[in-house]
Symmetry: C2
Subunit: 306 residues, 2 copies
């Protein structure tokens, strides 16, 4: 049986260090409200679902936060203030460009003096990214908030969107995090690690309530809200996107397939659907599809605000 969102929150306890982060989000929103900045909440990464109370095992999904972390950069380029709500261990803006090489391989001891420097071959790229990063940090336009599991994510999502409600249509919610559809309620969870000597494992997972419902109805009804739909089956992609828009009454669904998600997405609204694609040339030059997504959403957000 599906739980509704209110009882989900009642069942779960407030996560550790929630209040501290809640206050950070609140002041961030207030400051940018007074500066009349647009603010986008970018959620990113996956949400884990524990299978045991003292958690050894959990269900996760493939998301490493590429979509969210790159989009956050493009929103910052466009002048937005960004609340980046991301799962621990997923990619973060700017730093994400340098995760494929172990950090120590980027460095060299300088002979000429006592410094430890970035190696020549990486210096140019790191310098460019570092400058951008410093600029948004100095301007206080990027707030990083991390979470580690589904419950923590949902508490922080509710809090952030409630704060953003105070700026009405100036706010965008860009919900790129891959949120679990299923979870095991605390009352059904074994306390200790599941023993393999007990034989094959039967798990029964319950549906996570769809939080878009209270989000668009109560928490933040006037924001420009963008949700994501990831499928592996093209047949059902558009119909599922349209159904979501009708049901939750929000502005945009970005629909994409697991295997082509880095090169093409569909921007779906109640009365339109449009593919954004990278050309062969763009692909070769390292252009990211998120630059097109953000460009398109900024236009739509501009129309929406006026």
């Amino acid at each position: 049986m599906a739980t509704d969102s209110a009882s989900f929150f009642r069942q779960t306890s407030v996560p550790d260090k929630f209040e501290e982060r809640n206050q950070c989000i609140k002041s961030f929103v207030e400051r940018h409200k007074s500066l009349q900045n647009r603010i986008v909440l970018v959620s990113s990464g996956g949400t884990t679902v524990p299978l045991e109370s003292r958690t050894v095992r959990f269900i996760d999904n493939f998301s490493v936060g590429t979509r969210g972390s790159s989009s956050a950069e493009y929103f910052l380029d466009k002048g937005y203030a960004v609340i980046f709500l991301y799962s621990k261990k997923s990619l973060i803006p700017y730093t994400r460009h340098f995760v494929k090489i172990p950090f120590l391989d980027l460095l060299d001891s300088c002979v000429k003096n006592d410094d430890v420097c970035v190696r020549d071959e990486y210096r140019g790229e790191i310098k460019t990214v570092l400058q951008k990063y410093r600029q948004v940090t100095d301007e206080g336009r990027l707030l990083m908030v991390d979470f580690s599991n589904l419950t923590e994510y949902l508490h922080l999502l509710r809090a952030s969107s409630q704060h953003l409600n105070s700026i009405g249509p100036q706010a965008m919610l860009y919900l790129a995090a891959a949120v679990s559809d299923f979870y095991i309620p605390k009352s059904d969870m074994p306390q200790h690690k599941i023993q393999s000597s007990d034989g094959p494992l039967q798990l029964e997972l319950q549906l996570v309530p769809k939080m878009l419902e209270p989000l668009t109805r109560e928490w933040c009804p006037n924001a420009f809200t963008v949700s994501f739909k990831l499928e592996t089956d093209m047949e059902i992609l558009l119909s599922k996107a349209k159904r979501a828009l009708n049901k939750y009454n929000h502005q945009v669904v970005i629909a994409n397939l697991l295997e082509t998600r880095k090169t093409e997405v569909m921007v779906v609204t109640r009365d339109s659907d449009q593919w954004l694609r990278l050309s062969g040339e763009e692909l070769a030059s390292g252009t990211e599809i998120e630059t097109k997504i953000v460009e398109e959403l900024q236009k739509k957000h501009d129309e929406f605000r006026t």
Copy 2:
């Protein structure tokens, strides 16, 4: 019904890029064999188990590879050659010391020249670690091999241990990876993403065959083999460790509890069990329990070799 290891391997296909990595492991072992070096295989991190064929969701465990990556450093300190078999996204030796701070926050553009340098406050520590890292790299004593899921891990474990068999008791297997106990056989897996509209999710997971069995019997019978036992319940910890030793006939089980695993472990052999613990002083100074584990194992490995 439990599958035996042979049929597990028959059911699964050889992972991508397996042969390339297999060759690297083979040459690494041959080179250090000719140098008469001791070699330890350190497995590290968790193994994921896909729930769908085109994987969106998977079961993972909490392991981030702290035990494995720190132990690898201490084995390198002791002169071992190390094959570090680790799960993608888990911690790696040396670099692990600097993961809590986003990489870009460690850096600064130098005013005096065109360099990008490590900030003053981090320079000392980074320099020390960088030197050690360069030394083992220059000596070719560290081979890094990554895997992304259970099947890949098991194929690489079998290949590595078979190669290590050629150096007999000079080899140590230090199996710190948190291997899944359960998996979903390919034949039972849905091809597409599981739909939440179908209601609650029933999963039936099968037992993963215990690979210590073929490992100690066939693949690498003469090595010094160390397995790990992580529990959340103290009551069953020692008995489970002893049972494993009797069953698989290997040398050592490192037994530990989830909540205290960073400060105390039990070193269990067929005729002894001994706690290793960090004192308050050691804890305060940042000593890691792995330095004691490796020290103890080196002694036992020395006795075993002669």
